[in-house]
């Protein structure tokens, strides 16, 4: 079995803060991490590899520094890594991103593509299903568990009300929830080897896609403006003992007709 896992390097958004005076984002010192859902997807692929034997290739699109998440993936147990990096990819929205990734994946052999449900910097959950459409293969999103019965993938998909069990034969694409399985740590041996394995660096000329579909040119959406929300006017804050605090809360709730 050959599995391609799409991963993304993202800023750890839980570490981002807003400057309370200027209302702007403080991005300095925010660490870059492997997107959590993608890490869950890689874990699922590695479990299939452990159980049935598979070759796992990780692919990411990003700046040269995204090499780091590929090394992390290799240290976790991935076999091959591809970095898509080219100025022609810059300014891509989800559709253009999915076209670039699909273009790269077309040049590979695979039975299964795994992606994270969504990335924590954009939260769009779009790139996975869009790749599946470009490659004309079925998709299953919100995957919490993934098994292989020798012929078909057996999938547990989370829904708002519970879950669904679905079956699909390869080739297909899954988007995975981080909560579906706890990702392994990099092994020490894997870390030592990670920089001995090659990371292939591919530009736009290496992939099978119409260049018109890439980057800013290939992006139907544009950011018209971006802004921080600004801070709401703070209410009253009391620093009193517990007894008094409870009194204040109750009188406020009465005043607001909540109780």
């Amino acid at each position: 079995m050959k599995i391609v896992v799409c991963i993304k390097q993202v800023p750890d958004t839980t570490e981002i803060k807003i400057n309370p005076v200027t209302g702007t984002l403080i991005r300095d010192g925010v660490p870059s991490i492997m997107n959590p859902d993608d890490k869950g997807g890689l874990e699922m692929a590695l479990r299939l590899k452990d159980a049935y034997g598979a070759e796992v290739t990780v692919i990411t699109m990003g700046p040269p520094q995204a090499d780091l998440v590929l090394r992390e993936a290799l240290a976790m147990g991935a076999d091959k890594a591809i970095l898509l990096t080219d100025r022609k990819f810059a300014g891509a929205d989800t559709l253009a991103t999915s076209n670039a990734l699909a273009g790269a994946i077309r040049t590979l052999k695979w039975d299964l593509i795994v992606a994270g449900r969504q990335a924590i910097d954009g939260d769009t959950a779009q790139v996975g299903p869009q790749i599946a459409e470009h490659l004309d293969i079925p998709q299953i999103s919100y995957v919490a568990d993934l098994q292989w019965d020798g012929q078909r993938f057996l999938v547990k998909k989370e829904t708002e009300e519970g879950y669904q069990r679905l079956a699909v034969a390869g080739p297909c694409l899954m988007t995975v929830l981080a909560s579906g399985c706890k990702a392994r740590y990099m092994s020490v041996r894997g870390i030592v080897d990670a920089y001995n394995k090659p990371v292939e660096i591919w530009g736009a000329d290496h992939i099978e896609v119409d260049e018109e579909k890439l980057g800013l040119k290939g992006s139907p959406t544009r950011v018209a403006k971006a802004f921080t929300k600004g801070l709401k006017q703070a209410g009253e804050v009391f620093e009193v003992d517990a007894e008094e605090a409870v009194g204040i809360i109750i009188s406020k709730l009465k005043e607001k007709f909540i109780i």
Binding site: L68, R71, E72, A75, Y185, M186, S187, V188, R189, I191, V192, D193, A194, Y195
Partner: protein, 379 residues
């Protein structure tokens, strides 16, 4: 000259830091409180290869280096000094001497299982009457046919009872003084070997510290480690490596206490201001931070020299001396900054202060380190 970690070391630090935060830190207070050996953490570390970091791949190791090993002990100790010393005692005091002094047969037999964590390792040198003066060994080993027969007691042995492999020192020829000391490999299931009472300690309370008892303990002749009479040299060389481990542990404890104190003094308000806004806090913390960073450079430099095959005995002693005394100072002041809360178990600095003390004592007291440093200075 380059003071940065290389890419592999940096990736390793990322992993071990995340592991420490997520897997080790949540247990730190509990294992201290219950004086419980963290077996579940040992199993997790074994799976990741943390028990064979600097060992070559051909013996089942990860093929890393001593800088990585030092980072591992530092990052583990930053959240839990007990977990740090489990790895340090195993790696520096058992895996390393077998790798450095063992025969090919011994290496093939012991190293893969030690590196995988299937077997934990320990080291037996100290005796009731042979502490800092390690030459006063009273444990004896006598060759009878194809077996060495060991008799005597070892005390304060880290990982005792949980380790399967012990590197043990015994007198093979009393007339020769230190030249009559030899090193042996003893397995836990050997008849005549037993583990005595467990010590109740001030700090690193989750680590198992106990007595080893040899009562006509018979081991194969081939379990002599290194040359006959070469034991004292092996012990001293092994302790040089052990000091890098304990210096890393001390550094980790100091860093952990710094982290806690920075956070607390930013949060804690007195007289309408954060503690961190007072110049007294700032100046004291600046001094402590400088010492922690100086410790780190000493520790890294000693580990680097060991990897480079350069003499590092005095470097290890300086790293251990300075990092241990820094850990004690930082943790004591951290408790002071935390005030009454710092004295309670609600905050981890109380534990860190108790844990720090041992780093000034084991693997050679601070006084021994000064002897080593002065010995090089005035040779």
């Amino acid at each position: 000259m380059n003071f940065d970690l290389n890419k592999t070391q940096a990736l390793f630090r990322q992993m071990i830091r995340e592991f420490a935060e997520k897997e080790v830190k949540p247990l730190a207070a509990e294992i201290d409180e219950q004086e419980r050996f963290p077996m579940e953490t040992v199993k997790k570390m074994a799976e990741l290869g943390i028990f064979g970091i600097p060992l070559p791949v051909e013996y089942g190791g990860a093929g890393g280096d001593n800088v990585m090993y030092s980072i591992a002990v530092e990052e583990l100790s930053r959240v839990c000094a007990t977990t740090g010393v489990v790895v340090s005692a195993h790696t520096s005091l058992c895996l390393a001497p077998i790798f450095e002094h063992g025969t090919e047969e011994q290496k093939k037999k012991y190293l893969p299982k030690l590196a995988s964590g299937e077997w934990l390792g320990a080291f037996g040198l100290t005796e009731p009457n042979a502490g800092t003066d390690a030459s006063a060994q009273q444990t004896t080993a006598v060759l009878e046919g194809d077996e060495w027969v060991l008799n005597g007691n070892k005390i304060f042995i880290t990982n005792a009872g949980y380790a399967h492999v012990y590197v043990v020192f015994a007198m093979t020829d009393k007339s020769k003084g230190t030249k009559g000391i030899s090193a042996f490999i003893v397995e836990a299931d050997t008849p005549g070997f037993s583990v005595g009472k467990k010590e109740l300690k001030l700090g690193i309370r989750g680590s198992a510290t106990a007595e080893l008892i040899f009562d006509n303990c018979r081991i194969p002749k081939d379990n002599l480690l290194g040359k006959l009479g070469g034991g004292f040299g092996i012990a001293m060389k092994t302790l040089d490596g052990g000091r890098v481990g304990i210096a890393s542990q001390a550094l980790g404890i100091a860093q952990g206490a710094m982290d806690e104190t920075v956070r607390y003094t930013k949060e804690r308000k007195q007289f309408g201001r954060s503690l961190s806004a007072f110049q007294n806090t700032q100046f004291q913390m600046a001094d402590l931070e400088t010492k922690v960073q100086a410790s780190r450079l000493l520790v890294r430099s000693a580990a680097f020299k060991k990897d480079a095959g350069q003499p590092y005995s005095a470097d290890a002693a300086m790293a251990k001396l300075f990092a241990a005394e820094t850990a004690m100072e930082v943790t004591t002041k951290a408790v002071q900054f935390h005030g009454g809360y710092g004295y309670t178990r609600e905050y981890p600095v109380e534990r860190m202060m108790r844990d720090a003390k041992i780093t000034e004592i084991y693997e050679g007291t601070s006084e021994v380190q000064r002897m080593v440093i002065a010995g090089k200075l005035f040779k």
